[in-house]
Symmetry: C2
Subunit: 261 residues, 2 copies
DNA sequence: TAAATAGTGTCTGTGAGACACTATTGG
DNA sequence: CCAATAGTGTCTCACAGACACTATTTA
């Protein structure tokens, strides 16, 4: 019997074929007036999916974690770091990349106002409802639309409902299975918005309550009642004592700061 | 300019080194009397971590998805299929496998009463509280214990708390980073129990409310009030009209069936 | 000074948490 | 027939949803 040390010294790597593993990152932000969700897409200049838009991302290198790879790519593409970045789901369906066997670990990154961020990509307006998901870039006047259907599937004894984009319809499309990644990420973002303080990653150091509420309404896709919203966030914020101009209107509002939960 | 078809024909695979990718599965069940959570572990008979206990799992083969690979392994190890199986998290930290570069996509599988399942592994009692996680197999009289600490970490502007097992202390340990996988999975299981109908994957086709409540209390690690618990599950179940013996006591209780939400 | 929007008071319904009680069953 | 436990009634509190109102600010 050999020892573990001896084993590791003589170990030769698996003869089985291995997949390539990438990270794809949905970088989400808002415009200056909290009226549009913004997602970063990059036009592919290589095969496959040449000319299609894709999420920023890239191969994970040996010696780094998926989180590090996502952070590195994010920094390369946007120049930002130390922002919210979290793993969403790992996509492994065979054939999702026509070249070869590629898995993708999807990440969600949250930035605030995208107007200050320089990138080689394009910021697309992102909207999603029960009927469709729509991405639009006014920079290149590109519109990407997918109809959405609710699909029910079983896991064990329980049925779940899920939103699935149908690939039908013409027009510009997203590369690979990146629609799926975007949909999954948005759904997770919504539950996080309802159950955690995630929203504060998308406003500045200080903010006004009208702006914060506009952000919630934008992400959750529904109107909220002012009173209830304020009661909800009240324990997590403190007034600075100043009054500043909201981005959503041109009136003065009280300025607040996030103090954690 | 070549077409995509030509590109794919001439495409040669990446020269970059690639990781191996495995799935590791936390197979969770209960004993006959709903008094112990059970987790399946397998004693390793190879280096590395020879003699340590590990989660069942294995390499993903080309042509199958991670989900399929997890389902295949589950069937091989337990003979069960068509049960609840869901992706939890992908572990990618460099060095997590001493042999070489290996990522692991963790899955959670839910079975019911484990006494009917034959396996080459061992069923360990699993308990977890704020202080420690403990696994115990009476088959081999093996006890595996890790102290647990609450660790706070920042993601963007927000601080999160997380349970982390410390590697200190002697005694039998788990292979690789499998403690982490187990802890993450249990935490996810708890939030799923509180927010979905997941529990019905761990009881039979019909069940009694005392049994179902015992299961909830076991997973959530706290006592529940009968009245509130019954009010909660009432809309999702229907009485069969029969009275059967509970597993948790020797009295008759009304028999129910899951009807979905 | 008027329209718009910041900000507050309060009512309702629902669900979790809690406790006290009655009904039924096995030994 | 009695101890144990199945099963019910009801109170409280926190919070989401909803609406009506007052205060302040810019045009």
């Amino acid at each position: 019997m050999i020892t573990e040390k001896e084993f590791l010294e003589q170990y030769t790597d698996s003869i089985y074929e291995k997949p390539s593993v990438t990270t794809d990152i949905l970088v989400l932000g808002v415009d200056e007036s909290f009226s549009r969700l913004k997602a970063l897409l990059i036009k592919r200049d290589e095969h496959p999916y040449l000319g299609f838009y894709a999420l920023p991302g890239g191969f994970i290198k040996k010696g780094e974690s998926a989180y590090q790879a996502a952070g590195r790519k994010l920094l390369e593409e946007t120049g930002v770091k130390d922002i919210y970045l979290d793993q969403i789901y790992t996509f492994t369906k065979p054939g999702r990349d026509p070249r070869t066997w590629v898995m993708s670990i999807a990440y969600l990154a949250l930035v605030g106002d995208v107007s200050k961020i320089t990138t080689s990509g394009e910021w697309f307006d992102l909207s999603i409802d029960e009927e469709r998901i729509r991405l639009y870039s006014d920079k290149s006047d590109t519109e990407i639309v997918y109809p959405i259907k609710e699909k029910s599937f079983k896991n064990g004894r329980i049925s779940y409902k899920n939103l699935v984009a149908s690939d039908k319809g013409k027009g510009v499309k997203l590369a690979f299975d990146h629609v799926e990644i975007i949909i999954e990420s948005i759904l997770k973002l919504r539950t996080f918005f309802e159950n955690s303080d995630l929203a504060f990653n998308m406003v500045g150091e200080t903010f006004t309550l009208p702006d914060l509420q506009a952000l919630y309404e934008l992400v959750l896709g529904k109107k909220l009642y002012k009173t209830n919203f304020r009661a909800l966030v009240a324990p997590r914020i403190e007034a600075t004592g100043e009054k500043i101009k909201s981005a959503t209107s041109n009136k003065l509002s009280a300025e607040y700061r996030y103090i954690g939960s």
